[in-house]
């Protein structure tokens, strides 16, 4: 069965303290690995799509990487405004996109 697992559930960082969020996936025939940011009371906001192992994408302080089993979202020198829930999702050979439970990131000034 397709599955997406994110860790840690919650992460507390000081401003400027870099770290990584993990997304492990078990999906047949990966067609895309997605990262979203969700702020309280809002819908998920698209960040990145990765398609093949070795691929990397960057946006401001965020960088997403992909291996055959995992994806990482690296956050470099985070700021308080980076505080949000980060969702990982994977789309396999079927029609469904499977979401992980998310990592809640708190960045303290």
């Amino acid at each position: 069965e397709d599955q997406v697992t994110q860790s840690p559930e919650a992460l507390r960082l000081q401003e400027g303290e870099s770290s990584s969020l993990n997304c492990s996936y078990t999906v047949s025939g990966l067609r895309g690995l997605f990262w979203y940011r969700q702020d309280p009371g809002k819908g998920p906001e698209f960040l990145f799509t990765l398609y093949s192992a070795g691929e990397e994408k960057e946006k401001e302080r965020l960088k997403a990487t992909l291996t055959k089993k995992e994806s990482f979202l690296h956050i470099t020198a985070p700021k308080p405004e980076d505080s949000a829930t980060y969702l990982c999702a994977a789309r396999g050979g079927g029609f469904k996109t499977i979401f992980g439970a998310g990592t809640r990131l708190f960045v303290k000034a």
Binding site: R31, G43, F95, T97, F99
Partner: protein, 114 residues
């Protein structure tokens, strides 16, 4: 311009009532989705329509009935609401096989059943 919009934003109703949620997208996508996000923030797919045809129908009670009058709209009607239906419902859209199938989400409809 709002890419994916939903109405209403909040919905408070009594058990047993029937209610509808509407979704519209102006991205020109051909596929639309309904997701349910529970109190633990888990997003689970409920339905998906491609070019007005139902392509995903998860194990959802038949009290939930989606309708897609055209490619830009996907509505969700819920009959005989139950307490367990309380959640946030998100609509999303994408291009099937295009734009790498990235889904874009609406702001959500917060449903509370009393």
């Amino acid at each position: 311009d709002t890419a994916v919009s939903q109405t209403p934003k909040y919905l408070v109703t009594q058990m047993g009532n029937d209610k509808s949620i509407k979704c519209e997208q102006n991205l020109g996508h051909d596929t639309m989705y309904w997701y349910k996000q529970d109190s633990k923030k888990f997003l689970k797919i409920m339905f998906s329509y491609n070019n007005k045809e139902l392509i995903i129908n998860e194990t959802v009670p038949n009290r939930f009935s989606p309708k897609s009058p055209d490619k830009a709209h996907l509505n969700l009607h819920i009959n005989s609401l139950e307490l367990g239906d309380s959640a946030v419902y998100f609509c999303a859209s994408s291009n099937w096989g295009g734009d790498q199938e990235t889904q874009y989400f609406g702001p959500g409809t917060r449903l509370l059943v009393l």
